[in-house]
């Protein structure tokens, strides 16, 4: 954790230099772990999380309107092995080329905001002379924007800096609006915007401990639940100190999870939990899978997210039933792949599978089935591994480097016509058997779906055996697998852990002591996603800065060490 923080602050320093902005006086120039301090200091920086692409885009849209285009390439945040991108964001620095991209995007956004089509929305005053600096008017335009972007009011020094920056640019360009444009562009590459910098204060409940302060709570709440920057009402609540009051925090968080904008947060959470960034690189052989095209590729993650949102939010459903729900959504292109009728020529329409259909639940969806397949063939092993790792939080070891895949790759071998037969041959190697025993009995139940999730009754003319098992339970097909997962306690423990990791940016190891209690409360609330996130948002542990012992423990785990 310490190393992550140092790397993050190195990036911060680089950005600060690049944007010509000094860190505010209350921020220490280097991290000060609580254990090293004689006494906790209010305002101590205790964490930094880089905005994800979606968070950046959502913030810009909220601040300036959806018509402002964000054009550019975002340097990806690296996902730590078996963890969330939300955790990776805590240790994510920026390369020079990544910063150049942010700079180009910032200039593009600023040019639109203070361009002729939009400037009247954001400049509440008329400069005395449109060709000369006007500090008062610049301050009036920039201060509200900065509060939104930095998630706090500007300090007097910062305000003076940006007003001076605007004035200098106005003098050089002979345009007041151009001056504002440059100042806004500078804000948009500031580390105060690109990173959520979390600061802490002494925790009255834990002598010597720290807890996130109100402003940091506002940001964490908003990004966790709405995946965007806090709105003015939430910032007001933070500035009034209401977010450290448990009752008021619960009331505010309750309103946030009941808002329609919680959908944005749920989408972001599951996109992170289910590794949706992999969709960007999914490729299929068009000769093997003619139904796979650009429309299908774009629709696959959206279908899964719509199913999740429909079940968990619209229907307020039980998380466990995500594995068995017959309800989903279709487009014309997906309908062809699923071989179901779709009435609407454009867009999405609801669809319900017949009772007992193997398509029911997330695992019967083409998105999951295609993602965990190869470009030209299905893969029971990849599918089984994904179930273990993504839905049950049970990491599966990588295959040894010298493994022989010949038997499983030859899908045209008439002597071994099905994946089950090929895997049986492959698993005669004892080095392979151990791992395959924990993945393949899961994945083989989905073998009637090919490498893009299309139904197939047989493989190479041979009937497909879809019997399988999970932790002692025996069943058939995707329908049986869905029911087994719905009954498994590991699925709810997993999503509870992921929710806590997502909120705090901590690793699974770090949050593990809290998960069983969280899962128990989750159960009492009917495994509703709103209840889960509300619980995460209101439990004091979410806001406590992890004690030094926790850091040490985390640093000693292989997963954490690997990140260094």
């Amino acid at each position: 954790m310490k190393m992550k923080l140092t790397l993050g602050l190195a990036g911060l320093a680089a950005l600060a230099l690049a944007s010509g902005l000094a860190l505010p006086p209350h921020a220490p120039a280097s991290p000060a772990p609580a254990a090293d301090a004689a006494a906790p200091v209010a305002g101590t920086i205790v964490g930094m999380r880089r905005l994800t692409e979606a968070q950046y885009r959502n913030t810009i849209a909220d601040a300036f309107g959806p018509e402002i285009r964000v054009a550019g390439r975002f340097e990806p945040i690296v996902r730590p092995v078996h963890e969330l991108i939300a955790s990776g964001a805590r240790g994510s620095s920026l390369s020079p080329s990544g910063l150049e991209q942010f700079d180009a995007m910032a200039r593009g956004i600023a040019a639109q905001v203070f361009g002729p089509d939009h400037r009247d929305q954001f400049v509440p005053c008329r400069p005395a002379d449109a060709t000369r600096p006007d500090a008062a008017c610049a301050r009036a335009a920039l201060a509200p924007i900065a509060r939104y972007l930095f998630r706090r009011p500007l300090t007097a020094d910062e305000q003076a800096l940006y007003v001076r920056m605007a004035g200098d640019a106005t003098t050089r360009n002979g345009s007041f609006d151009k001056g504002l444009e440059l100042a806004l562009a500078a804000m948009l590459v500031s580390p105060r915007f690109l990173y959520v910098i979390e600061t802490a204060e002494p925790d009255p409940a834990v002598p010597g401990g720290l807890r996130l302060d109100n402003r940091s709570r506002a940001a964490r709440l908003s990004f966790m639940l709405w995946n965007t920057a806090p709105n003015p009402a939430l910032l007001d609540a933070a500035e009034q100190g209401r977010l450290t009051d448990p009752a008021q925090l619960a009331a505010i968080a309750g309103r946030l999870v009941q808002s329609p904008r919680f959908e944005q947060g749920v989408r972001a959470f599951f996109a992170d939990m289910l590794l949706f960034e992999k969709f960007d690189n999914m490729a299929k052989d068009p000769l093997v899978y003619p139904y796979f095209n650009q429309d299908v590729a774009q629709a696959l993650p959206e279908q899964t997210l719509r199913t999740i949102v429909d079940h968990l939010l619209t229907r307020d459903g039980d998380y466990r039933d995500l594995f068995t729900t017959p309800h989903t959504y279709m487009t014309r292109s997906l309908g062809a792949l699923y071989r179901v009728p779709v009435r609407r020529s454009q867009g999405w329409e609801p669809h319900a599978f017949a009772p007992g259909d193997d398509r029911a639940g997330l695992l019967g969806q083409a998105g999951f089935l295609a993602m965990y397949s190869h470009s030209g063939r299905s893969s029971p092993t990849l599918r089984g591994r994904a179930v273990r790792e993504l839905l049950m939080c049970q990491p599966v070891p990588d295959p040894p480097p010298n493994v022989n895949f010949t038997a499983v790759q030859d899908v045209g071998d008439k002597a071994m016509p099905t994946a089950r037969i090929r895997l049986d041959a492959h698993n005669t190697d004892p080095a392979c058997t151990g791992c395959h025993l924990i993945t393949d009995p899961i994945g083989l139940t989905l073998e009637r779906f090919d490498g893009i999730g299309g139904f197939r009754p047989d493989e190479n003319g041979t009937a497909i055996d879809i019997s399988g098992g999970l932790d002692g339970a025996k069943f058939y097909g995707g329908s049986g697998l869905g029911q087994a997962l719905a009954k498994s306690p590991d699925t709810t423990l997993c999503v509870a852990s992921r929710a806590l990791e997502y909120a705090t940016g901590r690793s699974g190891e770090e949050v593990s002591p809290l998960v069983e209690d969280l899962d128990r409360i989750f159960a009492t609330k009917g495994f509703g996603i709103r209840a889960l996130f509300l619980q995460v948002a209101t439990m004091p542990e979410t806001w406590r800065v992890a004690p030094p012992s926790s850091h040490a423990t985390a640093a000693a785990t292989p997963g954490i060490a690997a990140r260094r």
């Binding site: 068009p286 000769l287 003619p290 139904y291 095209n293 014309r332 292109s333 309908g335 062809a336 792949l337 071989r339 179901v340 009728p341 779709v342 009435r343 020529s345």
Partner: protein, 395 residues
Amino acid sequence: MPKRTFPLPRSGRLAIAASALLALGPVAPPLPMAAPAIGEDAPRALPAPPADGVMGFVVEQLVPPVIQGKDACPDGPALKIKDAFLAQLPPDERARLSLKANEPELTRRWHADIFGPNNTNICSQPDLFDRPLLRTVQSRQAWGLDLDSLGDDGCANEEFTSPHGQTGIDNQEYRVMGCTLEWRGVDGVQGDIASGTRQFHASGEWTQVILLRGVDSLQDDPEVDVIYANTPDRPMTDSTGRFLPGASFSISDKAPRHRNALKGRIANGVLTTQPQDIRLTQTWGQGGARDIRGNRTKYDYRKARLQLAFQPDGSVTGMLGGYRPVWDVIQSPSIGGPGAALVAGIDCAAVLKTLRKHADGLRDPATGQCTAVSSALQLRAVPAFVNDSPQGKTR
């Protein structure tokens, strides 16, 4: 055969573009042309009908069924305007004009055959031009349907026999057009019309769907309701251009829309509809920038019927047969105007004159002359989900 046999616009540039489009065609390999399934034994292993009796299809192929080989056109293909001009010259003059050095003179002289007084031209006003008849199909074999077996008011004409031995085949359009390069092609496989038509059916411009209701058996069913209609939806295709089964389509509910409600029966695995006029639109460019000045054409088949055999893979193959007004056959190059003649070399006046000579249907009571030619199109359709238009009206 589709109404727009030679889809060429009026301007030269567009004409070249359209010709290139047809010449290149889609990437799809040609489908077998020799066996439109009619006359074959009924397939033995047909799938069970759906529980609700509803079946949908999207038409992948609707092309003139040309029988390749040298028997049909022993004297070679029908001549283009330039070749027809040279053919009428004395040998010495023909040889002189064929020299490269004399190409400008040759061009000027054969182009003169295309234009008439008052800005008229051979394709826009073909009746004003007197041209020799086209070379026609000489063999006795053709694919098609026996359209006049029930007796009608047509004109006598020599009928064909199908390659499977069925007699009484009515397909005078094939007799007239079957030696043109656009139909026959130069490679012994298929002409540009097949690939070009297929492209229009794949684009949503001419795309058609078939919806069957009340199907109790694919083997024998005395009464089936058939909707044969246009859809604006673009079919999904594989990397070779073949239509993928299982996609959804909506019957068009915007003008010009055509939704033909037909009555049919299934006997021995073959669906046959009762004779009825069938109209299906041919939109050009979906009414947008590609729309050729708003011109639209249509398949206009009079006293028409579908004859489709169910296949074990779920598709249907067969024929659309009926009588086409002779003008329809040249409507596309007529819209193209001089471009069709100058660039594609189509002799619209000769085509129309020959069509009239062989017209065998829709006798005009006033003149006693027939005004339409018997016609047949080979049809293949793959399974699809077809959503009927909300109003369900025929227009």
